[in-house]
Subunit: 340 residues, 2 copies
């Protein structure tokens, strides 16, 4: 993987990456619905699209009634975005700017935009670290009462089974291939894996690791996220890993009706799939329903490459650490009784 900035943008010049994103229906539909259902918020407004790529989100904003859209794109995709705007008759509204957002200037230093839109999310939300650029743009260009699309994000984690890494190999057409699969797992063990986890493979419906409001989050908040919890398994099964996903919420006049782009296992599959930290074979255990699973999770930005994170999980001894109150696990002696 690349560590310097030039390579970072070069990656985005591989058009297949953009093809993958444009073919991601839940992603596209979430942005489209979030914009169209908020047409009143876009009407006659000035929008800044950070990392515009092919410009499709800028086009959605223009079609929703924006007066002016700045589509800022650092890679050569900017040339394509410009042609896309021409092809769609949108050049009067969408101004494509080939620039890093950090080098971009609005026509006057006092000018501010009403809305910032960006699709900056990476695997497990923070991979790629593009959010830093979005927060930079917010601080420099957004009006005090301006809107962010999306406006809230949350990261979730759940213990899970990962049969594709273990059980599938016990019997491959009558042949035991576990010697192969453990090598395969070893080859991949230093990195979280981007896999599809089915809802049935989750041992817990998921717990919130981190929530942020993009209106006031600062980049430093993202340097280190540490989370410790005891979860009670919601069913029995093989605990073979931790599944991480995220959700992004878009602004809405009615919070309950806001468009949410979810990459959870029970949501339609996106190109982000789920991010899975697979346990070493000797740490995998069969667990019962209600068994406590206690762990510490940390996401730390790398000092030598601020776009990457190190993910670490530590399994903790549920007999030693403090449980939340109330805790549903079977170690808990007293339960609150819920009246319904």
């Amino acid at each position: 993987m690349d560590v310097n900035l030039n390579n970072y943008f070069n990656n985005y010049e591989n058009l297949e990456v953009h093809e993958l994103m444009l073919r991601d229906r839940p992603r596209q539909q979430a942005y489209k619905r979030a914009i169209e259902s908020n047409a009143n918020l876009f009407k006659d407004k000035v929008v800044l699209d950070v990392g515009a790529g092919t410009g499709i989100l800028s086009a959605f904003c223009a079609k929703a009634g924006a007066k002016l859209v700045y589509a800022v794109e650092a890679s050569n995709l900017a040339e394509i975005a410009l042609k896309v705007m021409e092809d769609n008759g949108l050049t009067p509204v969408v101004k494509v700017i080939h620039s890093k957002i950090e080098d971009f200037c609005l026509p006057t230093s006092a000018e501010r935009v009403d809305i910032i839109i960006s699709e900056w999310m990476g695997f497990y939300l923070l991979h790629e670290g593009m959010l830093d650029s979005v927060l930079f743009a917010r601080d420099k260009f957004l009006k005090p009462d301006g809107l962010m699309f999306p406006t809230e994000c949350a990261i979730y984690v759940a213990p899970c089974s990962v049969p594709s890494r273990f059980d599938d190999w016990e019997n491959v057409d009558g042949v035991r291939l576990t010697s192969f699969s453990s090598k395969l797992r070893k080859q991949k063990s230093n990195n979280p894996e981007i896999l599809q986890i089915s809802p049935e493979e989750l041992l817990h419906s998921g717990t919130l690791v981190h929530w942020m409001n993009l209106i006031d989050t600062v980049a430093q908040d993202l340097n280190e996220i540490i989370f410790e919890d005891v979860l009670a398994a919601e069913k029995s099964g093989k605990h073979q890993g931790f599944c991480i996903w995220f959700e992004c919420r878009f602004p809405s006049e009615n919070y309950e009706e806001a468009v949410v782009l979810s990459t959870a296992p029970n949501s339609p599959l996106t190109h982000w799939k789920q991010c899975v930290v697979v346990l070493p074979e000797n740490a995998c255990t069969e667990i019962d329903n209600n068994a406590p699973i206690s762990f510490k999770m940390s996401m730390r930005r790398r000092s030598n490459d601020h776009r990457k994170y190190d993910l670490e999980f530590e399994l903790l001894d549920p007999y030693v650490i403090e449980h939340p109150v109330p805790c549903d696990c079977y170690m808990t002696k007293f339960h609150f009784i819920k009246y319904t």
Copy 2:
């Protein structure tokens, strides 16, 4: 892509390649059925598995009753194959040899094997050029009346539409992205693409380009395959490319009941998918049912890398070239009448 031999084998040490192959159900099932349904042919026989990988085909042969299986693997996978044989109690039958087949020797120079099995097929059959090693093994190690698994192969081609490269981009959620898609196509235009083509996208059911019997084919036959034909479109549509696929037939006492591994668009999808040569945009045409499509196709082994081929298509003028007799295209003045 790699041009030297060390890199060629290193690629096979990326275990994800093997994961992909082992998860390819039609591939696995074809070999398993071909072996199991011919258990009488394997009973007490000596088998050579060329490029054994994880050793799964050798295991199938051993379970089908082979007396002895030489599993020859050039990459480090040989170590895994050895463990797989131990895990399955097959070490008395399967001898794993970490060697290139070209360096391998049977215990006595006079010894020969009854059956050679290998999964050597690459994209459009010949990519990777591993067949050369299989033919080498046949000439050196196979008894005169020995069997090859598979024993016959055929390459087919058909004109097709490729909507994923053209039409899908006319309207992406209301935005015309053809400027993006034509750049995308240009980025990929020097290489055939490995795509899934649906049967509905074919404009013709396919014509045989090359057929070979692995019992008597020689490597030189594979240096250059040139094919010229006029096909009558079997439906109207957009001619945007040529789709190439292959079939492999395994030995059987009853030819009609032989197991066939097909990578045709109307067969279950394999990891080979289909190989598509996409036409330049200005060569794409709307064609009518029965319209003649005349072309010359060549597959030429590269002089500097015998594992790779250059694929070339030339569209010919159907008014100039000679049509087959009978020809179903609408230019043909006289038709044979079929009585049913």
